[in-house]
Amino acid sequence: MTDSERVQQDLDYVRNVVRHHDADLGVPAIYFLWAVIILVGFALPDLAARLAGRYWLLAGIGGGLLSWWLGARDAKRSGLNDVALGKRHGLHWLITGVAFLLSALPLIVGRGDPGAAVGNFLLIAGLSYALAGVHLNRPMLWSGLLMLAAYGALQLFAPPYTWTITGIVIALSLAWAGLSAQRARNAGSLQ
């Protein structure tokens, strides 16, 4: 075997190992957590609109902290502590949180239209999830696209219970993403 053939074989081996590593679909528990938070939170504007703001303030911050803890616990258990990826996740969701607060600003200062604000909330969530799907964990892309489609439907048709129906669809897509991630992990651990 020539030197270049040996080098090529070694690089093929390394490429296969790295590719196997990159197939991570995210932490299943975080998908399930947000499926529940979104299912409840998206029903509130239709069923108990006065509670929605307070719910999202608490669930947004609490869910973010719990997601961080679940991610750190998963990193320890899986034996892969990717600090750079963790920072990317943290920055992404921190920016999303800031955008949510800014979208609520007109309501906080008493100059906003609640209908427009909740629409903006859905638009920001959809954009953030879709971009997280592109840059972080692919399954989030589908949830994000569903949110953007729901925003379009909300603006064009204003159907009844749009928020509740959207919440159910997103929760189902997140639960599906969690189950897919769990299945991929189980398959990986059986190899």
Binding site: V18, H20, L80
Partner: protein, 99 residues
């Protein structure tokens, strides 16, 4: 071949090269995770990691996860530099062979 002179003997074993590339990409990885990813025995993997550690290319940290001891590995600054140099030499080897 002149390009071969730039190769680092610490990375000549493909498992050691894979270990270094994974650490450069992901930061910190445990012994158990390496074993799973590289499909190696404890003894073989331990020997390869020790070789990189002896060169000063790896740093290690001991921790407990759910009351079980875990050893975490990370690439040191000299390790990252050496890996970059080795990868540049590999590119030169491949380029020279395709001319």
């Amino acid at each position: 071949m002149k390009a071969l002179e730039g190769l680092d003997s610490a990375f000549e074993h493909r498992a050691r090269l894979a270990i270094a590339v994974l650490l450069a990409r992901h930061g910190e990885i445990s012994f158990a995770r390496f074993k799973q990813e590289l499909d190696m025995t404890d003894g073989n993997l331990g020997a390869q990691l020790r070789r990189l550690e002896d060169e000063g290319y790896l740093g290690l940290r001991r921790d407990f996860v759910e009351r079980k001891p875990v050893t975490w590995y990370a690439l040191s600054k000299p390790g990252r530099k050496a890996l970059d140099k080795h990868l540049a030499a590999l590119r030169a080897v491949i380029a020279a062979s395709t001319v």
